[in-house]
């Protein structure tokens, strides 16, 4: 199959890449842009490990093709920290033991960033419903909820 020349804008940088049309956004980020922070678990939309932001909205990067996202602003976990300074959500995950193996973490972080940026005052019920989107197989969800709660306060400051 022929390869297409496309430009992906990720975390404010342009990545000129050459991909087949069947290349998912997740694979393009990982293999063509070298941004391996975005993880792939199920590849059919169920686990959320591949969650990235497209124009500030959370999407499953395994359920879209890279060619579809030319012209969009993509944000991945690599764009969260400011140099050595962690994003408040990353710090909160650390502080509250919100990760263990870390496989699901980039997806949870990007989901939570989107949710909190849109609604910093989200109530507990809504927050839990939003986080139910993603799966974690080892930390458990209580600490993830706790971490996001704590970050909500920190992000408002």
């Amino acid at each position: 199959m022929t390869k297409l020349d496309i430009n992906l804008n990720v975390n404010g940088e342009t990545y000129p890449i050459k991909v087949e049309a069947r290349r998912t956004l997740a694979d393009a980020l990982r293999d063509d842009c070298g941004l391996t922070g975005t993880h792939l678990g199920c590849e059919h939309g169920v686990c959320g490990a591949c969650t990235v932001l497209v124009d500030d909205q959370p999407v499953r990067a395994c359920l879209g093709f890279a060619v579809q996202f030319e012209g969009s602003q993509i944000r991945t976990v690599e764009g969260l920290a400011d140099g050595d300074e962690l994003h408040p959500l990353q710090q909160a995950f650390w502080d509250h033991h919100g990760l263990q193996c870390g496989f699901c973490t980039p997806g949870f972080l990007m989901l939570a960033v989107a949710v909190l940026e849109k609604n910093p005052d989200i109530d507990d019920g809504e927050l839990r419903r939003a986080l139910a989107s993603n799966l974690c197989r080892c930390t458990g969800y209580q600490n993830i909820v706790k971490a996001v709660r704590a970050a909500a306060g920190a992000m408002k400051r």
């Binding site: 199959m1 297409l4 087949e20 049309a21 069947r22 998912t24 694979d27 590849e43 059919h44 939309g45 959320g48 969650t51 909205q57 959370p58 999407v59 499953r60 395994c62 359920l63 879209g64 093709f65 060619v67 579809q68 989901l111 989107a114 949710v115 419903r129 939003a130 139910a132 989107s133």
Partner: protein
């Protein structure tokens, strides 16, 4: 897994999309939100040779009202319904029911019309379309066609839409002031597909039920109305005994599916319990 190779097309107008579909027909698939098609491609359950991506067709992203109908363009995402899209009670109904569709990232991409075209019996939007007798506006190179919901949903993942037709718009009748509804769904976890769900919509006249619609989703091979139960209720004043009989009639009207999540008998029980609850909620 990774999807098989395909040729990618990104038309800018509905007319171009229709022409492309005409050209490739059986070898082509429309790509809307991709939240059902791409999983199937990743699992290689679908291997289209041509993908016609409609995401760049701006004219398809709209919601408007005309002639007593809410018109929903093919690119309208699930997320557009999280706040009521109209002041008519239909707006609240759509917002309440739509919250049950998957999770936020799914609702950001997935489309109303994509759900209808996909014709999953456990789709919330298919249930709404079947209950309210939606009209599907299909376009092909041969012209346009309006398909009523009663003829649209054939069975699980099968609709009356032809391989060369684009579902351009779905039209839902406004309910009018005074319409009441109740929606009940049971799923394994928040955001999962419904094992069974019931939508009841009714209009009261004095103390009596003037008109009523009952829709069943997730229980049988397609979303459908329960005409026997509706007939029992029309013109009557509601009583616990009447609701019980209506729930029984709804249960008797379906041929339930069984899968690893629930047996046929369990789905029957769900239809019985949820029909009564949805009616109670609508009457409350």
């Amino acid at each position: 897994m990774k999807p098989a190779g395909f040729e990618y097309h990104a038309p800018r107008t509905l007319g171009e999309a229709v022409q492309l579909l005409h050209r490739f027909e059986d070898d082509a698939r429309i790509l809307a939100g991709g939240q059902s098609l791409v999983p199937m491609m990743n699992l290689r359950l679908a291997r289209p040779e041509h993908i016609i991506d409609i995401n760049r067709i701006g004219e398809l992203e709209h919601i408007s009202t005309a002639d007593g109908m809410l018109r929903i363009g093919a690119l309208t995402r699930h997320n557009a319904f999280m706040t009521p899209p109209t002041d008519d009670p239909l707006g609240r109904l759509l917002a309440e029911v739509g919250r049950h569709i998957g999770h936020l990232p799914i609702r950001v991409r997935g489309t109303f019309a994509g759900s209808i075209a996909h014709a999953d019996p456990a789709s919330e939007w298919c249930l709404v379309a079947a209950t309210l007798d939606a009209e599907m506006h299909a376009e092909s190179s041969a012209g346009q066609r309006l398909i009523p919901a009663s003829e649209f949903f054939l069975s699980s993942l099968a609709s009356d839409l032809k391989a060369d037709e684009v579902l351009a718009e779905v039209r839902l009748p406004l309910l009018g002031e005074g319409a009441r509804f109740g929606f009940e769904e049971v799923s394994r976890r928040a955001g999962d597909f419904a094992l069974t769900m019931i939508l009841a919509v009714l209009w009261l006249d004095g103390g009596r039920i003037d008109k009523v619609r009952i829709g069943i989703g997730g229980a049988a091979n397609r979303a459908m109305r329960a005409p026997e139960a509706e007939a029992l209720l029309s013109g009557q004043s509601a009583s616990p005994e009447l609701l019980r009989r209506a729930a029984e009639a709804a249960t008797a009207s379906i041929d339930p599916i069984k899968d690893i999540h629930a047996s046929a008998a369990y789905r029957r029980d769900l239809v019985r319990a949820l029909t009564r609850r949805a009616l109670e909620r609508a009457l409350a």
